[in-house]
């Protein structure tokens, strides 16, 4: 197969775009796609101070690399959930990218604050580990962002993550989540940092290819708690549809964005905030502060800074 830009040997075919590209042209294509997404949806302004949530996986590490190449100076945050070897290897990959980009990382160790790992905490609060993980990560990312003077959090959620979540929400008509998807979650001053997803329209396959072609060392192992995740079933179904009808996933999400915008259906809900910490909460006290109280934890949120040898001024 030949590259449709330069005629060289193609390394990837992109059937959704009726395209095939060589390594260099694919890298340019994907970086340009992220840039266009950021510009079209006005995700990042010149005076913004973004913080990227990195997990050690292909999506967040590749996105960090792309943002750096596009000139968006971004520091990282890594949340260590104490999942044995998985967390240790992930952190090594994150540090390796921080060294490569010469950017710093804030590291939060769950066990250091709570004295327990994610499995124990999920049992205590009677939530599945993935749900407990999401609650803790959202809280800590927001806290670090606000405390350290960043005004937005960037995550590596890709097209497949978003399409599978949307499919799950549709199948069970989860009305409370259905219209909350999107590229951006607006900030609430003093309470919530803005959140953005620049990979919203980039597929997992594209992100893995980008990581491989740029020698990005990411963790290939699956989180042990996500092996039975329903999202994997939805992704499999969507990939079967994609194989028979290329472009299905992209149209699914683009259609969603259009419908939610046209119908102006992103309804404004009354926000309430935690009386202890000010974080978004459905009751008087947020889930995180309730957990702190329950475990008798009085320490403030501690995190470490990992600084590569040379940081650009």
């Amino acid at each position: 197969m030949k590259c449709k830009v330069c005629g060289g040997t193609a390394v990837i075919s992109l059937k959704a775009y009726n395209n095939a590209l060589c390594a260099n042209d694919f890298i340019s294509f994907l970086e340009n796609r992220v840039l266009k997404t950021i510009q079209k949806y006005r995700l990042i302004d010149v005076d913004d101070r973004p913080l990227i949530a990195v997990s050690g996986g292909k999506d967040s590490l590749s996105l960090w690399h792309i943002l750096d190449r596009l000139g968006y100076a971004t520091d990282g945050i890594y949340i260590d959930l104490s999942i044995k070897e998985y967390s240790q290897i992930s952190l090594e990959k994150v540090k390796s990218m921080a060294d490569r980009l010469k950017r710093k990382i804030y590291i939060f160790h769950l066990e250091e604050v709570f004295g327990k790992d994610i499995e124990s905490i999920s049992r205590i609060i009677r939530r599945p580990p993935c749900s407990a993980c999401g609650m803790l990560k959202r809280y800590v990312m927001n806290k670090v962002s606000l405390d350290m003077g960043y005004n937005m959090i960037i995550t590596g959620h890709n097209l497949d993550d978003e399409a599978s979540a949307l499919l799950g929400n549709l199948l069970y008509w989860k009305d409370e989540y259905l219209w909350k998807k999107g590229l951006e979650l607006k900030e609430t001053e003093g309470h919530l940092s803005k959140k953005i997803k620049p990979l919203f329209l980039c597929s997992e396959r594209e992100m893995a290819a980008y990581a491989i072609l740029n020698n990005i060392d990411y963790i290939h192992e699956e989180c042990p708690f996500s092996l039975d995740a329903k999202s994997l079933v939805y992704k499999d179904i969507l990939n079967r549809l994609e194989e028979s009808s290329p472009g299905t996933k992209l149209q699914f999400l683009k259609g969603y964005l259009k419908v939610s915008r046209i119908m102006n259906i992103q309804r404004k809900q009354a926000m309430s905030y935690c009386k202890i910490c000010g974080y978004l909460s459905s009751g008087d006290i947020c889930s995180f502060c309730r957990l702190m109280e329950r475990l008798g934890v009085k320490n403030d949120i501690k995190f470490h800074e990992y600084k590569p040898k040379k940081i650009p001024s």
């Binding site: 197969m1 193609a10 390394v11 990837i12 075919s13 095939a20 390594a23 996986g57 292909k58 999506d59 993935c130 993980c133 497949d160 597929s203 997992e204 396959r205 992100m207 893995a208 290819a209 491989i212 072609l213 290939h220 699956e222 989180c223 708690f225 996500s226 092996l227 995740a229 999202s231 994997l232 992704k235 499999d236 990939n239 079967r240 994609e242 194989e243």
Partner: protein
Amino acid sequence: MKVEIDGKVIIVEKAPTVLRLLEKLSINKESYLVIVNERLVTEDHRIENEDSIRLVKVVSGG
């Protein structure tokens, strides 16, 4: 021919192209990338007996 998939090496009957190999293994083209001799390749790439072949899963949960 030997193929590495998800960290394990399996023996597969020879396939002339990457596409035929994926079909033999009933693998969805959207879910895996194929590396031949340490280079990412497209589905029409011709496979030789001595090639080193690695399938990289692109789907992750969570």
